[in-house]
């Protein structure tokens, strides 16, 4: 039994440039415990809802996160539509699904790049981001923004994508798929990568459920739970199964994300082949009154929104429970028993997005 040491990890660039801080309790080289702290950049955006009317707030909520910005916007408008009891046109639903899945493709490519960077594969990181660039170009072409799209609105979407562009998107995605295949093979097959990831930070099936892990972290431990199965937006009409890996280690979580990348591309293809013609928005009259909890699946996992409105144009409360918030307890469960050198890798496999968490 060695002596116990406490090592602070973060908040300055722990593994990715975001302020996550962990106090690691070490026994020699092994982690025996950890205490997280967040809140270094807490912005209180939720509070702004009382001063911006519910149409404007969409643009604020989108800026909660720079990666899943679209899905935050989508979740927000779904909550408001839930309070209104509004049904949006089918084409708008499909368009939202396409943008949401494109977000997932770019988020997973981004994460794979960061992961490669975490174990020192710098050029692999750049290659991942090179492929991701194509997806960002699609965003700019269709929505006007590369990161913040501002296309959702209560009652539908602002912009339509014409069918020709949709076809071209699929063509671009074919290239993206082909190019990612060459890169993801490294994550799946490479010897050194497996040395770093296999058997590291195992989160068992039961633990994953108990600590409330979400998203790929949960599915990497063998739990088939995917909020898209709720059938919100157009997911009810698409054909897919949650992607599950059994092992619960870093490797399994990587594989889940790699496979989800291809699943998302496939979902976009399905959307493009099924998308109906028609309106893209419905008129919204009056102000919302009531409360509603909506749940969506982000690239990082489940996200929960809660909105309450009192019949004026300002909401009383809008809450965002981001996936990273739910995954931090999971991270604490994974850490004990890991080597100090593996901590950055472990922190990364929950795909932390602290800027979301500090909304």
């Amino acid at each position: 039994m060695g002596e116990r040491t406490i090592i602070p990890f973060g908040p300055q660039h722990p593994v990715l440039p975001e302020p996550l801080h962990l106090d690691l309790i070490l026994e020699d080289e092994k982690v025996v415990g950890a205490v997280p702290s967040i809140g270094f950049v807490h912005r209180g955006l939720e509070k702004l809802v009382e001063k911006r009317d519910f149409h404007e707030m969409m643009y604020v909520i989108e800026r909660v996160c720079g990666i899943c910005s679209f899905i935050h916007g989508q979740g927000y408008v779904q909550t408001i539509e839930g309070i209104f009891g509004l049904e949006i046109p089918d084409r708008a639903k499909f368009l939202r699904t396409i943008w949401a899945e494109l977000s997932r493709v770019h988020s997973h490519l981004l994460w794979l790049g960061l992961m490669a960077d975490a174990y020192g594969f710098e050029s692999l990181f750049m290659h991942c981001w090179r492929v991701r660039e194509k997806v960002l170009d699609i965003f700019e072409e269709t929505t006007g923004g590369r990161v913040i799209f501002s296309v959702c609105k209560v009652g539908g979407v602002w912009k339509d994508i014409d069918n020709e562009t949709l076809k071209r998107i699929v063509e671009v995605l074919n290239v993206v798929e082909q190019e990612s295949k060459a890169l993801t093979d490294v994550f799946i097959k490479d010897f050194t990568v497996q040395k770093r990831t296999r058997g590291v930070g195992v989160l068992s099936y039961q633990d994953a459920i108990d600590v409330g892990a979400v998203g790929p972290t949960l599915r990497g431990s063998g739990v088939a739970m995917d909020l898209r199965k709720l059938g919100y937006a157009a997911y009810g009409e698409l054909n897919f199964e949650p992607i599950v890996e059994k092992d619960g280690d870093c490797y399994a979580r990587t594989i889940v994300r790699v496979r989800e990348l291809y699943q998302s591309i496939d979902l976009i293809r399905q959307c493009v082949s099924k998308i109906p013609d028609g309106e893209i928005e419905v008129k919204v009259k009056g102000n919302p009154k009531g409360e509603y909890v909506s749940r969506l699946e982000q690239p990082r996992g489940q996200v929960v929104y809660y909105g309450r409105a009192n019949g004026t144009k300002y909401l009383e409360r809008f809450r965002v429970r981001t996936p990273t918030f739910a995954n931090i307890p999971a991270l604490l469960k994974m850490l004990p028993g890991a080597d100090l050198a593996d901590v950055p890798l472990l922190a990364l496999t929950i795909d932390p997005c602290i800027s979301c968490t500090e909304r």
């Binding site: 108990d210 739970m225 909890v293 929960v304 300002y314």
Partner: protein, 121 residues
């Protein structure tokens, strides 16, 4: 989409038992959310099953109240409870990890416990 959502009422003394029951039935905690409006204040506990079924419980509170923590039942609750403690000034007893008000160090203490009307620009 527009399914009707019910919020079951619950009181502070029942919440731990409610949580235990939910655990027994295979639910897990997905969020705790505090809401303060000019007229009322409550905490919403949302539980979810693996088949995605979800239940909400609503617990009325006031600033300064003390509630038992459910982090003994659901470990993940500690983050939400610390958050509510720091932003709304509701105290919890027996949290698994107690940050003692240092999770969010805001310039104004209990920043969210003021509602928009009292806190105009």
């Amino acid at each position: 989409m527009a399914e009707v959502q019910t919020f079951h009422p619950v009181t502070g003394s029942e919440i731990v038992n409610t949580a235990k029951n939910m655990l027994k039935e295979g639910y897990r905690l997905i969020q705790i959310c505090c809401t303060k409006t000019p007229t009322e204040m409550d905490i919403i506990y949302t539980f979810e099953k693996l088949n995605l079924q979800c239940e909400n419980f609503k617990l009325p509170v006031n600033v300064g109240d003390t509630l038992p923590s459910i982090s003994g039942v659901f470990f993940a609750a500690f983050l939400y409870e610390n958050e509510i403690h720091d932003l709304y000034g509701v105290n919890f007893t027996g949290m698994a990890v107690d940050f003692k008000g240092t999770l969010y160090e805001t310039a104004v203490k209990q920043a969210f416990s003021m509602t928009g009307a009292e806190n105009k620009e």
